[in-house]
């Protein structure tokens, strides 16, 4: 429970008077890590491209904190030093960046919380998917798959969560439990240091050993990388067909696995919409405008004007209408080698 | 009087000492001689607390004392120059000389007093070291030896043990060390000298104790023993 409760009150004024950059504001984008694909491969280029499109003279200062809250703090300070006019902040630790936001507010620089809801202080905008919702969708998808196979009550599931030292992993975990608790038996549940696929593989192997091969009916993996590790473990243990397993991030390798039937689903965050929406917003705010937001989200301290996007659960039959249609990956990229046949089956070309 | 009784020490397969006894009365220089590997250094190390003996006892004025580590030995007034010198090569001459018995007030070092005392002591021993503030690592073999000897005189010992003190020393410095040993005796200290140089041994010692293969192998009053008798005891030719 932090203080700074007065933050919400003056949000409007700081927001309006920000944008000292006039027609070509400098926009600082802060992303939390570089070890998963999405941030460097999608968020950043999409965001930068959209800014360029809307305002050719605008400058984007890009920062990646490598999952280190202290480093992110330094990055924000560096950006303020360089005269950023808008901060678009995807917090490493969404609960701990309030002082940073406060610093920006003191300098009358507007802040847009990107992807993760910053708590403990008021600020200008929030653009995101809902992390708890992601966990819920993973849990729901797994439940659906188990029900479809009729194995929901007939065995146990294994849950492979993300890093115990990563706060967002706690949200996914919470969401998944919201859906699954009471509906299935949870046999083993692991927090995986560093979201490491190697460790996920070992965890899955140990779960199989501990529970017995035939007692397991499904796997909840918090992201695609770890799902890859768990799938390797299942294959080596001789599962055929593989158990339904969830994922997140829509990594290329995961999409291919979904098409070939090795992975049941992934969470596809329509990062394009998120990045582009944020870019539009950042440019507008940077120019001193104050767009209206469709909704507000209460972060415990203040109501933050918010643009909320829905995560999309992608199973094999939905790849075509989501990922391919959005151009997230080109069909040619997905349908390489062994995946080609599966592509044809799913109608992707 | 310090007395070691029935000391035994085994290193793995090697029985380095087996029931060795030694008397060190005040005001007397005792020379400990013996072949390489006879156990001389090991005996010294048990007396000065560096290695615990397996067996045996050390008494001081007929009361048994416990010497569990070098600190105990120092507290009892036993000061030792080791054959392998045991200097901290990263520290300078002054620091090495006063190591463990620094001049200090409320734990703050008296740099200047120590430096001054070092210079005086080295001058007295006729040791020439051009800069006493350089690390010991850069000294010549004899210079290190001299520093180690000077170390033993810091504080107020009642027994000074010197394990091959003159091995690396020049003619003059050797003479100074022998002279120093005599002066220590005259001040009433007990001195234990280990040396392979029988000429030196005969020149300063009052008594010669011979070790052979880790056992006592003879004891002589220096004035009365011939060089041949001592050598015979060392080599075991007498047996």
């Amino acid at each position: 429970g932090g203080s700074g409760g007065d933050g919400g009150a003056d949000t409007a004024t700081t927001g309006a008077s920000g944008g000292t950059g006039g027609d070509a504001p400098t926009i600082a984008l802060f992303l939390p890590e570089s070890k998963t694909t999405r941030y460097e491969a999608f968020d950043r280029p999409l965001f930068e491209a959209k800014v360029k499109e809307l305002c050719a003279a605008c400058k984007v200062l890009y920062n990646n904190a490598d999952q280190d809250a202290a480093k992110q703090q330094q990055q924000v300070e560096a950006a303020l030093t360089q005269g950023a006019d808008v901060l678009v902040l995807d917090a490493v630790d969404a609960a701990a960046v309030a002082p940073l936001v406060n610093q920006a507010k003191q300098k009358k620089i507007p802040v847009i919380a990107y992807d993760r809801l910053i708590s403990g202080i008021g600020y200008d905008y929030f653009v995101s998917f809902n992390n708890v919702r992601v966990g819920e969708m993973q849990g729901q998808a797994l439940l659906d798959a188990l029900n479809a196979k009729g194995t929901a009550g007939k065995g146990q599931i294994v849950m492979i969560h993300g890093s115990p030292t990563d706060p967002s992993s706690a949200d996914y975990k919470k969401g998944a439990h919201n859906v699954l608790d009471g509906k299935v038996t949870i046999g083993r549940e692991f927090d995986t240091p560093d979201w490491s696929p190697d460790k996920a593989q070992q965890e899955m192997e140990q779960a199989i050993t501990a529970l017995g091969r035939d007692k397991i009916v499904g796997v909840l993996s918090a992201n695609d990388g770890m799902a890859g590790g768990a799938i390797a473990a299942m294959k080596r243990a001789g599962y055929d067909p593989l158990l339904p397993i969830t994922g997140q991030d829509a990594e290329l390798a995961a999409v291919q696995r979904i098409l070939t039937g090795e992975q049941y689903m992934t969470i596809y965050l329509d990062i394009r919409s998120e990045a582009e929406k944020s870019a539009e917003l950042a440019v507008a705010v940077g120019k001193g405008e104050k767009p209206a937001a469709p909704t507000k989200v209460n972060n415990g301290t203040a109501d933050i004007p918010a643009f909320l996007l829905d995560p999309i659960a992608v199973t094999a039959d939905k790849v075509k209408d989501t990922i391919v249609k959005d151009g997230f990956y080109k069909a040619a990229d997905i349908c390489q080698g062994e995946t080609a046949a599966a592509c044809a089956k799913a109608g992707i070309s | 009087m310090i007395r070691a009784k029935d000391i035994s020490k085994r290193y793995g397969a090697v029985q380095a000492l087996e029931g060795v006894s030694l008397d060190l009365p005040p005001g007397e220089v005792v020379a400990l001689v013996g072949d390489n590997g006879a156990g001389k250094s090991t005996l010294v190390k048990t007396i000065s607390g560096v290695v615990p003996p397996d067996d045996g006892q050390i008494t001081m004025d007929d009361r048994p004392v416990r010497i569990g580590n070098p600190h105990d030995a120092q507290a009892l007034g036993i000061s030792t120059v080791y054959q392998d010198l045991a200097l901290c090569e990263n520290l300078d001459v002054v620091a090495n000389l006063f190591l463990g018995s620094e001049t200090r007030r409320w734990s703050v070092l008296g740099h200047i007093r120590m430096e001054r005392a070092t210079r005086d002591l080295l001058t007295q021993l006729d040791v020439r070291i051009r800069d006493i503030r350089v690390p010991v690592a850069s000294l010549s073999g004899g210079q290190r030896q001299s520093v180690a000897i000077a170390r033993a005189l810091i504080g107020d010992p009642r027994l000074v043990i010197l394990d091959e003190p003159t091995a690396a020393l020049g003619v003059e410095q050797t003479a100074q060390v022998l002279d120093l040993i005599r002066r220590l005796r005259d001040r009433g200290l007990a001195v234990l000298l280990i040396s392979h140089n029988l000429a030196d041994v005969r020149a300063v010692s009052d008594r010669v104790v011979v070790l052979r293969l880790g056992r006592n192998a003879g004891e002589f009053r220096t004035a009365e023993a011939s060089q041949e008798a001592i050598v015979a005891a060392i080599t075991g030719a007498a047996a």
Binding site: T37, E205, G228, K235, R236, A253 | -
Partner: protein, 398 residues
């Protein structure tokens, strides 16, 4: 003189008294670590009945090969009293190189592996030259490596992130190949015979040179011990999927490197440089070359370890070679008895150390506990396993 010298040099025949002697003077070799392993086995075995099942032991073997190989490389550098912090990054980078060549460019897998290991060796050469020529501390050189090669890995992986290795491809198959039973048994018998033969031959040659020898029955005990261990291992592993190729590869590396260290001039010089580099230099040994070679070996083994890890996962990704792989590899070496100060250690340290570490990890994952508790227990068990070793040695010091 030889009349008095020779009897002294002959070790007394084996006797309980002598065994107590050896224990007293701390000449315990690897036994305390083995005792620690047994303790771990008993504890986890009683907490979870699956821990000692053939299936789990097979998993354990598979889990330890990659980090164990990296640890072997680390030992090469530790023997010199230096450190290689870049081993993790190098393992990840070279695995990525191998995967890109194999998957994206369609190169022959063996060739890809060879090129990747060569790349690792080249990286080691760079480290070694910076250390010996510019005389930067190895800690800093390899710290820069740790960061820089990780950067290169991210750069090479680029947008895509994870790259899958085909599941039935050569590389992935490396860690999913099992020796046929007849072959496994033949191998075990052949190894035992070879070992016994070499012991007997050495004994004969020593007798011929009029050198002291140990009694024949001790030779028999040693060869018999090996036979029992090998037979036990094969029997247990056969009860599950068989003897994994991965184990054979790792064990071969351990044994071959041990032979190199103990029986070649190069190995001897490694120990000499680690013990006293100046003495080695004065003995005319090219210290620079030894040092560079150690770094090359370390990086090449790290590269190979990374490839084994990729084979296990059938994929490489941004976190390849990251996480705590480096720390575990160093810890394995140290737990196995390699000194951080150089000059002391054998390659079996990697085997024993990684066994200790992986047993703990493996056992902790079988038990269903919270991750915070898992961390604490892992630390406690690790400390305990090493404390057994240290206490045994301590009881015998001096």
């Amino acid at each position: 003189m030889s009349a008095t010298t020779v009897p002294d040099q002959t070790p007394k025949p084996f006797s309980p008294r002598q065994a107590v002697e050896r224990i007293r003077r701390g000449d315990l070799g690897a036994w305390p670590v083995v005792a620690g392993l047994i303790a771990i086995a008993i504890v986890f075995g009683s907490l979870n009945e699956n821990f000692l099942s053939p299936e789990n032991l097979t998993n354990l073997v598979l889990q330890m090969a990659a980090t164990g190989t990296i640890s072997l490389g680390i030992i090469m550098v530790l023997l010199l009293g230096e450190i290689d912090l870049a081993a993790g990054s190098v393992s990840g980078l070279c695995a990525v190189v191998m995967t890109i060549l194999n998957v994206r460019h369609g190169w022959n897998p063996v060739l890809s592996i060879a090129v990747a290991v060569a790349a690792g060796a080249a990286i080691g050469l760079v480290h070694g030259l910076m250390f010996t020529r510019i005389r930067m501390p190895s800690f800093v050189v390899t710290l820069a490596g740790l960061i820089g090669w990780q950067g290169l890995l991210l750069y090479l992986l680029g947008q895509g992130g994870t790259i899958n290795l085909p599941f039935d491809g050569f590389v992935a198959k490396l860690s999913d190949t099992w020796l046929p039973p007849w072959f496994a048994w033949t191998l075990a018998v052949a190894l035992t015979a070879l070992y016994a033969g070499s012991l007997l031959l050495g004994r004969r040659m020593r007798l011929a040179a009029d050198l002291p020898v140990t009694p024949v029955y001790r030779t028999a005990v040693r060869a018999g011990g090996l036979a029992v261990v090998l037979a036990g291992a094969v029997a247990v592993l056969q009860a599950d999927r068989g003897v994994p190729l991965l184990l054979v590869i790792f064990a071969t590396l351990v044994v071959v490197l041990d032979l190199v260290l103990r029986h070649t001039a190069f190995g001897r010089w490694m120990y000499a440089v680690g013990g006293n580099a100046e003495a080695a230099r004065r003995a005319g040994i090219n210290v620079t070359r030894i040092r560079v070679l150690a770094f090359v070996l370390s990086a090449a083994l790290a590269a190979f370890g990374g490839i084994l890890a990729a084979s296990r996962l059938s994929a490489v990704n941004q976190s390849s070679g990251g996480s705590d792989i480096l720390l575990m590899a160093i810890a394995a070496a140290v737990i196995g008895g390699t000194s951080l100060f150089g000059g002391r250690g054998r390659t079996y340290a990697a085997l024993l150390g990684i066994l200790v570490i992986q047993s703990i990890t493996n056992g902790m994952l079988l038990l269903n506990v919270d991750s915070s508790v898992r961390y604490m227990v892992t630390a406690a068990v690790l400390a305990l396993a090493v404390a057994i070793d240290s206490l045994a040695r301590r009881g015998s010091a001096q």
